[in-house]
Symmetry: C2
Subunit: 188 residues, 2 copies
């Protein structure tokens, strides 16, 4: 019998230098040593805080989506309500409840965490936590940041599936947990 | 009847300046004007080429996954075979066929495009195209780049679903099309 092959090993950081540290972009350049000794002279890591997004479902069974302009891709897109964990948030769950209330005015319901994923573990050091909030209700108006312009929309299950099937929601950190929710709850 | 509210509008680019242009990191800072006239003085966009990944399924019905170290998150992870479209690739499909052969040695089968998603349309300007390749076969060894260290693994459907349910695959550009494939083919 052959020996079991050795698993892939982490690489070693030889040195690390920040290129930029701003609230919306923190980038560093690492020099890495691979397990076989080869040097990778230029490996870029983007540092971000923990992100959250929410599959919010109303007491009537409709999905609460937001619509906003996404400049890098140049599209206006339907998305899950989402945001960044702040120093004042005790947990990703707290951040998610705060973001849902601020962006949509919806709150309440039963909250569970579905998944924690990465937009790109090659270059980004953070995770995005997705929560399911079942039975939310509109309790307030929106309370947006200076540079947020967001409209709120309710989608029935078949409308949401149609949106996903046509790639009209493109943000994979939102699309992944939604298809998981659809698969695990046998909605198609 | 009330007028239909005006849809969310794109923002205008006032000026744009590159911070860094390297093969693995191209970043620019845009100054934007919002529809209400407000100026966003510092909006960062990361430019990337088109990406591809492949849901490759063997003639025996097993999923071809790869395993590699992902430095930004510091994890060794199972992933779909994936890569970047190069100047010599005539299309994303060509890039996907080339990457599958190089990284895994598998080729052939019936290819269809499933979806095109964004890791983050807020900050990244590219799309990732996911292809389904049904009935691939091992035709060659691996042909890796200098700084690639990749092992190849075959997963049965229930093993793949178990991996996804435990967030052991974290890359959302891979998780999203896999859950879509599972949902649309009623695999759970």
């Amino acid at each position: 019998m052959m020996d079991k092959p050795k698993d892939i090993q982490p690489w070693e950081t030889v040195s690390s230098e920040y290129l930029i540290k701003r609230p919306w972009l923190t980038a560093r350049r690492d020099v890495l040593r691979m397990p076989d000794g080869k040097i990778v002279p230029e490996y870029y890591v983007l540092e971000y805080p923990t992100w959250v997004n929410i599959i919010a479902i109303t007491t009537e069974g409709e999905f609460v989506l937001v619509r906003q302009y996404r400049h890098a891709l140049g599209i206006v897109e339907y998305e899950l309500c989402a945001g960044t964990m702040e120093a004042s948030d005790a947990s990703p769950l707290d951040a998610a409840k705060r973001e849902l209330l601020e962006e949509t005015g919806y709150a309440g319901g039963e909250w569970t965490e579905l998944t924690a994923l990465s937009a790109n573990p090659t270059s980004m050091n953070n995770l995005n936590h997705t929560f399911i909030a079942k039975g939310v209700e509109k309790v307030a108006g929106q309370n947006l940041d200076e540079t947020e312009e967001i409209s709120v929309h309710l989608f029935k299950t078949d409308e949401l599936i149609d949106l996903l099937r046509h790639d009209e929601m493109k943000q994979s950190l939102m699309v992944a947990p939604l298809w998981r929710y659809i698969a695990e709850n046998h909605l198609i």
